[in-house]
């Protein structure tokens, strides 16, 4: 509670916020306003999502604050595990066997 008066303007948060908005609207624009094939659109918006997630890790999630190296490592392993379970798991479950028909 002692250090609520921040030393400087949170510029990286503002940049991160603006870039997130730009990337999101870019994804929406490509999906809704272009005539690219379904596959191309999926690859583009998927890539934009990954870029945005990585950018947010640096801009918002204190990834660069080095003194907690071990904590960061645990957090990253945890995040990778969750991504594998949720994303890879869902794709596997929903595209195999009768579920894919």
């Amino acid at each position: 509670m002692e250090h609520h008066q921040s030393k400087s303007f949170p510029i990286s948060h503002v940049i991160g916020f603006v870039v997130s908005l730009v990337l999101t609207f870019a994804a929406a624009g490509i999906a809704l306003k272009t005539n690219l094939s379904f596959k191309v659109i999926m690859w583009i918006i998927g890539s934009l999502a990954v870029i945005q997630a990585g950018m947010q890790l640096f801009m918002f999630m204190h990834l660069r604050e080095g003194e907690h190296g071990k904590t960061n490592l645990i957090n990253m392993i945890y995040a990778v595990f969750m991504v594998i379970v949720i994303v890879v798991g869902s794709i596997w479950v929903l595209t195999s066997g009768h579920a894919s028909h």
Partner: protein, 658 residues
């Protein structure tokens, strides 16, 4: 906006008309009573704006008991409807609504707040802290939960209840097949309550990692603290999935998107997949803290340290990890193919291993212990055989191939009631009897407690045991009636009779609370059970700053060893220092109210009104951002006075159990 006022209130059903009148009278009675007794100011300053973890915990528990009553009434109505073949007590629509709200309320608005309430009361005390890491966030968690719960509960008198099951599977839950607003309640109310739960998870992770008292390493934490810690991690892992799924559901229902619809490129099974990605960890989110409660109760009343502490910790971690990778066992029959179903069969069966380890640890804790059969211990003893029945039938259901036979029958319903009632309800009753003196400074009556126990446990078994056999004979779940030729009638009748005994047990519990408030002995010392962990080293009820001097921990069961070695129990005047405590705040309850209002408008799809209420939410966030209240300091004199009041009267510790 095209409001259909004639569809606003549910009309034409005598049961619901009765409820509407009862709700109105209760509200008038409550307001009149509080005004007459001039308790508004007390209510506002002591409870509604409090950030004290103990009071927040008590409010969680009160809400949970009320929701238990509501969910229990739903259960009794279902049992009445199915007690005879071709009953005409509830129509099919009403039955659908009731089994949906029964499930949602019992899991999310009874089990969750009951456990979170006990966590709130106990965890800071067990780790020797003066509050949780973020006290005001804690109050916000409570008010968001309460707001979501109330929003969900009014659905049955205003607008109509959700009717697509507690799982709300698409396409049934979509706009195409459920055009009413009932399922909007599901999407919005659970979202609001879920935000509160997610914040609770974050709060307790930080509290347990950062606020432990001197000397309490991770491997010296009490077992309930361990299970709460792992549960909080699971909450943070799983609830965001539900948040996203509910948001997509809201878009589908309110704004015409096609995430889960059958047409327009949607994928209905994606809902089931996301729901259970959250839903299975959710089972362990409610089961793990319950295991922690049993560990505390069994160790205390066996008068021994918990057997196999390390293996206990590793089994909790193992269960948590495995719980993230078993979700498909809820929908084997979707037909994902042999590779997927085999994988999830194996992971599911593997969960039985760490759970079995825990079972044996509890049994070995009791072995050669001097067991005291208190009410709390009785619940723990009954838990063991009842939960094993639930677990073994779970392994049966875990086999993908066999599950095609059991799926969607009452066998499954019996199985999960055998898991959740012993695994959660028995635990919260055990915890309530155990920690009640710490919360209120008097005990619940042991004799009534035993009546409560026997009626409840017998009623539970008579209600749900027949459902295993009904299910094996082919009775399907969620069916509002059956024919006389099916031959199901005798077992259904038996089950209905059991539910009345179960309800009688709950009634005795309520009477016990009333009796004990009026007549129970107030002079019970701060440690009536001769317990082992730090919460019993301070006053009962606990003073608002918890500990005048933060205790120092040297081993497991720290309070037990402090008593044995007679060290750290007294307080010298020179040790008293000023204590820094957080101030009350009106913001959490304001946020709860404004979220409730915005949610209500969103349920009725009054988008402009919802947007206006949304401005109120942002206003609250902005006010909080500029809130620099630093709390207050408790003076040495006040601490001195409070500490003397309880330490002087105590003398020797009385034994109130025998």
């Amino acid at each position: 906006m095209g409001i259909k006022w004639d569809e606003f209130f549910i009309t034409g059903d005598p049961l619901i008309l009765g409820s509407q009148i009862a709700i109105l009278l209760t509200m008038i009675g409550a307001v009149a009573g509080i005004t007459y007794l001039k308790k508004w100011k007390y209510l506002w300053t002591e409870w509604l704006t409090t950030v004290d973890h103990k009071k927040i915990g008590i409010m969680y528990i009160i809400s949970a008991v009320l929701m238990f009553f509501r969910g229990g009434m739903d259960g009794l109505l279902m049992k009445a409807q199915t007690s005879r073949p071709e009953m005409e007590f509830l129509n099919s629509q009403h039955y659908n609504e009731i089994f949906t709200t029964h499930g949602v309320i019992m899991i999310l608005f009874m089990a969750m707040p009951f456990l979170i309430g006990l966590m709130n009361v106990v965890i800071p005390l067990q780790i020797g802290a003066r509050d949780v890491a973020f006290p005001q966030l804690n109050a916000l968690s409570f008010w968001l939960f309460f707001s979501g719960a109330m929003l969900f509960n009014i659905s049955f008198v205003i607008g109509g209840s959700p009717d697509a099951g507690w799982t709300s599977y698409f396409p049934l839950a979509g706009k195409e097949f459920s055009p009413g607003i009932g399922n909007n309640y599901y999407a919005v109310a659970l979202q609001i309550a879920g935000i509160g739960t997610l914040m609770t998870g974050i709060n307790f992770i930080v509290t347990i990692l950062k606020m432990r008292t001197k000397g309490m390493t991770l491997m010296k934490m009490p077992m309930f603290t361990w299970t709460t810690f792992v549960t909080s991690i699971l909450i943070v892992a799983a609830f965001p999935i539900f948040t996203v799924a509910l948001a997509l559901m809201t878009f589908d229902r309110l704004y015409g998107t096609h995430f889960f619809t059958v047409s327009g490129g949607g994928m209905d099974m994606l809902w089931a997949n996301l729901f259970w990605l959250w839903g299975h960890p959710e089972v362990y989110i409610v089961a793990l803290p319950a295991f922690g409660i049993f560990s505390e109760v069994i160790a205390t009343f066996s008068r021994k340290s918990l057997f196999g502490y390390k293996s206990m910790v590793f089994s909790i971690l193992g269960i948590a990890l495995l719980s993230m990778v078993v979700w498909v066992h809820h929908f084997y029959t979707m037909g994902s193919g042999p590779a997927v179903n085999s994988f999830f069969s194996i992971t599911t069966m593997a969960i039985a291993i760490p759970t079995g380890v825990k079972m044996f640890n509890w049994l070995f804790t009791m072995r050669k212990g001097r067991i005291k059969i208190t009410s709390a211990m009785l619940w723990a003893l009954a838990f063991v055989p009842c939960f094993v029945i639930g677990g073994v039938t779970g392994v049966m259901l875990a086999m993908g191939a066999a599950d095609y036979q059991y799926h969607n029958t009452l066998f499954l319903v019996a199985h999960f009631h055998y898991v959740l009632i012993p695994g959660v309800v028995f635990a919260v009753f055990a915890g309530l009897y155990y920690w009640w003196p710490k919360m209120f400074g008097f005990m619940l009556n042991e004799k009534l407690g035993k009546w409560h126990f026997w009626l409840f446990v017998i009623g539970f078994n008579v209600t749900f045991m027949p459902m295993f056999f009904l299910g094996l004979n082919g009775a399907v779940r969620r069916a509002y009636t059956y024919s006389a030729e099916s031959g199901f009638a005798p077992l259904f009748m038996l089950s209905a009779i059991g539910s009345i005994v179960l309800a009688a047990g709950f009634a005795v519990f309520c009477y016990n609370i009333y009796w004990s408030i009026r007549y129970a002995d107030r002079n019970i010392s701060s440690d009536p059970w001769d317990a082992r962990t730090l919460e019993w080293s301070t006053a009962s009820p606990v003073q608002f700053y918890n500990f005048a001097k933060l205790p120092e921990v040297k081993s497991l069961d720290p309070f037990w060893h402090m008593k044995k070695k007679n060290e750290g129990l007294t307080l010298h005047d020179s040790e008293i220092e000023e204590i820094h405590m957080p101030s009350n705040s009106w913001l959490p309850i304001y946020m709860g109210v404004i979220f409730g209002i915005a949610g209500f408008f969103l349920v009725f799809e009054w988008h402009i009104a919802a947007a206006v209420a949304g401005i109120g939410i942002f206003a609250g966030l902005i006010i909080r951002s500029f809130d620099y209240n630093e709390g207050f300091h408790v003076s040495k004199e006040e601490i001195h006075r409070i500490e003397n009041a309880w330490r002087k009267t105590e003398g020797e510790v009385h034994d109130h159990v025998s």
